[in-house]
């Protein structure tokens, strides 16, 4: 597993990006932050597009930048690909021409998914002979993603790659990214301002604010950190649970998982029996009951213990509860908290609708 080590200072007008961060490039690293937080600037520094940046930048064994030694590897010699916030397709080439441009400059000798694989996964076949100017916004973005993937990079930088892509295409693209990420060990750094997207996709998360790293951790842990939530307004944040696939129910099309030995059902077929997978549970989708409810359509009822309660100034309260070794975040109203007289240490039941769990 390669490490990306960043120690960078960049000034752009009044904005300053100052970042010291070592990132173990495993899976998908999400970068989250408000508009203007410096997300794009960070990717540009990594790609070597900001020649005014000073500091050092190393990827594994390779030193890409070391201002002290006046060392600077130009962008085209860094083994990475970049999906920009805008499509940036070459207007003088057709879609196929854009893809060929990338393929002719393949960076690594490592195996990569084939052209067909990528073209199919992004549903580009009917577009191949067209000019970028004749494509719709979403189509352009998909071509840009395909083009980046086809250079067989050792690191993929993506700047809000899904913003113009609709649900249906996303549903095809995300597994493709996951698969490439895992099968070809391609680490991805992905910028997004959708916490939802990052919660589902990213394994680690870097939080930027005003050009500085506020926090960096693996996604589940970061998402369950209460102190960060307000700050970065990750209102959708939830918890990510490790689970094991136990059984698939053909009749009802449900997969039964075990979380710390407790059964939990999710819709559809997820993983293979015995496999370890991840579950994302939105804090707002979890309810708390003090006694075990009956006659309820909510099928997943986990016994848990409250470990922390934090009341906000507004209507909400957050609480953390542990199920075995794992922590689940719950968001409820202060009114409920008071009505149920919940206290730290109390044993409760967590209710999770099967339909609101994202498993992957």
């Amino acid at each position: 597993m390669t490490e990306l080590s960043i120690d960078i200072h960049l000034r752009k007008g009044e904005f300053v990006l100052a970042l010291q961060q070592n990132i173990q490039l495993q899976g998908i690293v999400g970068v989250y932050g408000h508009s203007g937080a410096g997300k794009s600037s960070l990717l540009r520094v990594i790609a070597g597009l900001e020649c005014n940046a000073s500091g050092t930048l190393t990827l594994g064994e390779q030193c890409w930048q070391a201002s002290s030694r006046h060392h600077f590897v130009p962008p085209h010699q860094r083994q990475l690909a970049y999906v920009f916030q805008e499509p940036r397709l070459f207007s003088h080439l057709t879609v196929m021409g854009n893809l060929h441009f990338a393929m002719k400059r393949v960076k690594a000798v490592t195996a990569m998914p084939s052209l067909t694989d990528i073209v199919d996964g992004l549903q580009l076949t009917p577009l191949l002979t067209r000019r970028p100017a004749t494509l719709s916004g979403g189509e352009q973005q998909r071509v840009a993603i395909a083009r980046a993937l086809l250079t067989a990079p050792a690191l993929l930088l993506m700047d809000e790659p899904l913003s113009a892509i609709d649900r249906q295409h996303k549903a095809e693209l995300i597994p493709l990214l996951r698969r490439i990420n895992e099968q070809f060990h391609l680490p991805i750094i992905m910028v997004s301002h959708s916490a939802d997207e990052l919660a589902v996709l990213s394994d680690q998360l870097l939080l930027l604010r005003k050009g500085q790293a506020v926090a960096f951790d693996n996604t589940p842990r970061l998402m369950s950190r209460l102190d960060l939530l307000e700050m970065s307004s990750l209102q959708e944040a939830g918890a990510v649970l490790d689970a094991q696939v136990d059984h698939f129910d053909d009749a009802f099309q449900l997969t039964r998982l075990l979380v710390e030995g407790i059964p939990l059902s999710v819709p559809g077929r997820v993983g293979n029996v015995g496999a370890r997978i991840k579950l994302r549970v939105h804090a707002r989708d979890v309810a708390v009951a003090t006694e075990k409810p009956r006659g309820l359509s909510i099928r997943n009822i986990l016994p848990a213990r409250i470990t922390m309660i934090e009341e906000g100034a507004d209507a909400h309260a957050q609480l953390l509860a542990t199920v075995g070794q794992q922590t689940i975040r719950v968001r409820l109203t202060r009114a409920s908290l008071s009505e149920l007289s919940l206290v730290v240490g109390q044993s409760v039941y967590l209710l999770i609708k099967a339909a609101s769990v994202d498993a992957y």
């Binding site: 790609a47 070597g48 597009l49 130009p74 962008p75 085209h76 010699q77 860094r78 990475l80 690909a81 970049y82 920009f84 805008e86 940036r88 070459f90 207007s91 003088h92 441009f101 990338a102 400059r105 393949v106 960076k107 000019r131 100017a133 004749t134 083009r147 980046a148 250079t151 930088l157």
Partner: protein
């Protein structure tokens, strides 16, 4: 009078000058378009200088420079054993000097117009600066090359002051059509002047219309319809 040798010479001179000049102007224009050096402004202005000297005067200075006693002429003589002045190659060299601004200026303007965002994308896709230049900047500057090519070509066809000075009006070698027309006018041979002018205009018109036509055809193919005004 047989016009063909002159016409052929003109075509050869204009075509060769245009091709060579586009090659030579490219690095100059690119440097000027991208540099932040403070000498750039001076070079900008310098490139336009061949234009401000009257052609015969420019020709006079070039004659000094290209003659066997001159710097370039001497070098050429040692290299090839041939005299540069009063030869076809001399005309080409002189035309290149004289038409330099017509090639550099439009190229520079169009290089500056190339979207830097696309070049960045090219770089991250693994294209080296030279690779980017050849596969992105050049095709995206097609219009600049068209303008540069047409101005250079047309100007070389019509220009005669320099050519007359450097070439010496030698039939079949340096006597291009423009000189022939000039001569006809000077010797009050108006009939020949009219006829040669028509030939020259017809020939140039054909070459240029063809170039423009091809270009229009391709840019129609690749362009969205212009908005309704």
């Amino acid at each position: 009078m047989n016009d063909w040798p002159s016409l052929w010479l003109t075509a050869k001179l204009a075509a060769l000058t245009t091709v060579l000049l586009l090659f030579m102007a490219t690095p100059i224009a690119w440097w000027l378009a991208t540099t932040r050096s403070r000498w750039a402004t001076a070079l900008d202005a310098l490139v336009a200088m061949p234009l401000v000297l009257p052609p015969t005067v420019m020709g006079f200075y070039l004659l000094l420079f290209l003659s066997p006693q001159g710097a370039l002429g001497q070098w050429w003589l040692e290299l090839t054993g041939e005299q540069l002045t009063f030869s076809f190659m001399g005309l080409v060299v002189a035309s290149i000097f004289y038409s330099l601004p017509f090639a550099v200026q439009p190229l520079q303007a169009s290089f500056r117009g190339v979207d830097n965002q696309l070049l960045e994308a090219g770089a991250t896709l693994g294209a080296s600066p030279m690779d980017r230049f050849i596969h992105l900047v050049l095709p995206l500057s097609r219009r600049g090359y068209l303008t540069a090519g047409i101005l250079t070509f047309a100007h070389t066809v019509g220009e005669f002051g320099v050519v007359l000075m450097i070439g010496g009006n030698i039939p079949g070698e340096t006597r291009v059509v423009s000189i022939a027309i000039y001569e006809a006018v000077e010797t009050l041979n108006y009939g020949a002047a009219h006829r040669l002018s028509l030939v020259l205009i017809g020939f140039s018109f054909l070459v240029l219309a063809l170039t423009y036509g091809v270009n229009r055809y391709f840019s129609l193919l690749s362009r969205d319809p212009v908005s309704h005004d």
